[in-house]
């Protein structure tokens, strides 16, 4: 028994087994992609659908009313892959695709060969590492974060686009950027005689490798800080981490805000450093030193950083009193009206008590 889907081919309804339906969908998707440059794309696609419908019709004779998967595969084989007949079109589209894939690198989920949602496969493709390693890392992370990684996984699975077309896949796999790859690339560039010749200076090459090493270190530090931030945020959200009763006002969203500001202040410069070092190390761009040092992204990053710093300062000044009161209570003091008195003589610091009283009198 196999499940059947009803499809509409150019206005005619057909019953089609699900496997065959998927094959047909893939075929039509490829056809649409191949005809992207064709001004009569819609017309050709309609004709193609009609031709498939005609072939289905010929199969449905007697008491047959379902097109099987095998029959659909056969039909699509007869049709042949849709190619652009115009070689000029071909060249244009491949050139266009080529330049696109050079510039774009995107994080996708990849369903083909995926274990669950294809998140790890997508990340692996993005970073240029074996998806198995990413999966192992995710499992380890799931234990370390007491399950937060699972939530993160689901969120990524839902939010990331799925790589459907070959072009998507090309983007998903384009330009690996792991530390290993950067090191490999550095080595390649350093040993590539042509590059050395063109640049003309071994010194430049050495500088480039140094930039890349700084980039790797900054990227790693950024990753660690981000992981720490995520773990702390998770712990706060799920109540594993809770402050002393007297500091309850610092719990919840206030604490999240505080930690996020602190995170931004620490992490954004690292991110900027990673990006700048990446640009400095990149031989391909012919940008001047100035544009390399201050890309467009850095403006946004520094604005965010400034906002975070201001936020942190406001936060500290707002809640400093609460923290002082907490520390005082902890040391045996308490406030009664306007008086700051010692409530627990065993814990009060005599010198400080005197000082306080002197000041308040």
């Amino acid at each position: 028994m196999r499940k059947v889907t009803t499809i509409n081919l150019n206005g005619r309804a057909f019953q089609l087994e699900e496997d065959g339906y998927e094959k047909l969908q893939a075929y039509l998707r490829q056809a649409a992609a191949a005809l992207a440059q064709n001004p009569d794309k819609a017309e050709v696609l309609t004709d193609i659908e009609q031709a498939i419908a005609d072939k289905c019709d010929r199969l449905l004779i007697g008491n047959k009313n379902v097109v099987t998967s095998e029959q659909m595969i056969d039909i699509l084989e007869q049709m042949g892959k849709v190619e652009t007949a115009d070689s000029a079109d071909d060249k244009q589209s491949s050139q266009r695709k080529g330049s696109e894939t050079r510039q774009n690198k995107r994080l996708f989920t990849i369903k083909e060969g995926a274990m669950i949602l294809g998140v790890c496969k997508g990340i692996g493709a993005y970073l240029g590492v074996d998806p198995t390693l990413v999966r192992i890392a995710f499992v380890v992370l799931a234990f370390l974060t007491q399950g937060f990684a699972v939530v993160l996984y689901l969120a990524l699975g839902l939010l990331l686009p799925t790589a459907k077309t070959e072009a998507d896949l090309a983007e998903a796999y384009n330009q690996p950027m792991t530390a290993q790859d950067i090191a490999d690339r550095a080595k390649e560039k350093a040993t590539d005689p042509e590059t050395v010749e063109r640049v003309g200076q071994v010194f430049t090459q050495i500088m480039r490798v140094i930039f890349q090493i700084i980039q790797i270190v900054a990227a790693t530090a950024f990753g660690l800080v981000t992981a720490a931030w995520l773990i702390t945020m998770w712990s706060m959200a799920f109540g594993n981490l809770s402050l002393h009763d007297n500091l309850q006002m610092l719990n919840g969203w206030r604490a999240s805000l505080f930690i996020s500001f602190a995170y931004a202040i620490a992490a954004l410069p690292l991110l900027a450093l990673t990006r700048i070092m990446g640009r400095l190390a990149d031989t391909k761009t012919d940008d001047t030193k100035e544009t390399k040092l201050a890309g467009r992204g850095e403006g946004v990053l520094s604005t965010l950083w400034g906002l975070s710093a201001v936020g942190l300062i406001i936060f500290i000044t707002t809640y400093a009193g609460d923290v002082r009161r907490y520390v005082d209570t902890h040391q045996g003091y308490m406030d009664v009206g306007n008086h700051h008195i010692c409530a627990d003589a065993n814990r009060c610091d005599p010198g400080r008590n005197f000082h306080r009283r002197m000041r308040e009198d």
């Binding site: 009569d40 419908a53 049709m79």
Partner: protein, 113 residues
């Protein structure tokens, strides 16, 4: 070398000549796409809709072909293709050129012998 081997090996050659083959088929009488495929299926130029339809669309765009809708005994109306005068010229030019090429190839071989 068997015919199948030739089909395998001279794909580019056939691809380039497919346009001429289609012009030839359409020049005989008005046909619809399935007729063209049927006619080609018995020759070296056998192909599928996936190749033919984009080709027909381009040839029409370039003014070699034109089509008119005609009722079919079963199913929706069909597009019947015919050559335009441009298409007829194009076919004539192509045939002449192919003849020239064949002669050239023969001559090239002749010098060797």
């Amino acid at each position: 070398m068997s015919n199948d081997d030739a089909t395998e090996q001279f794909g580019q050659l056939r691809k380039g000549l497919l346009e001429v083959a289609v012009l030839s088929v359409v020049s005989a009488h008005e046909v619809y796409a399935a007729d063209i495929l049927e006619r080609l299926s018995q020759t070296e130029f056998r192909t599928g809709e996936g190749t033919l339809y984009p080709l027909l669309s381009r040839m029409k765009r370039e003014g070699m072909l034109d089509y008119s809708w005609m009722e079919s005994p079963s199913g929706p109306p069909r597009k019947y293709y015919k050559l335009t005068s441009d298409g007829r010229d194009r076919l004539k030019d192509a045939q002449a050129y192919i003849a020239t090429l064949t002669t050239t190839l023969k001559e090239l071989g002749g010098h060797h012998a």
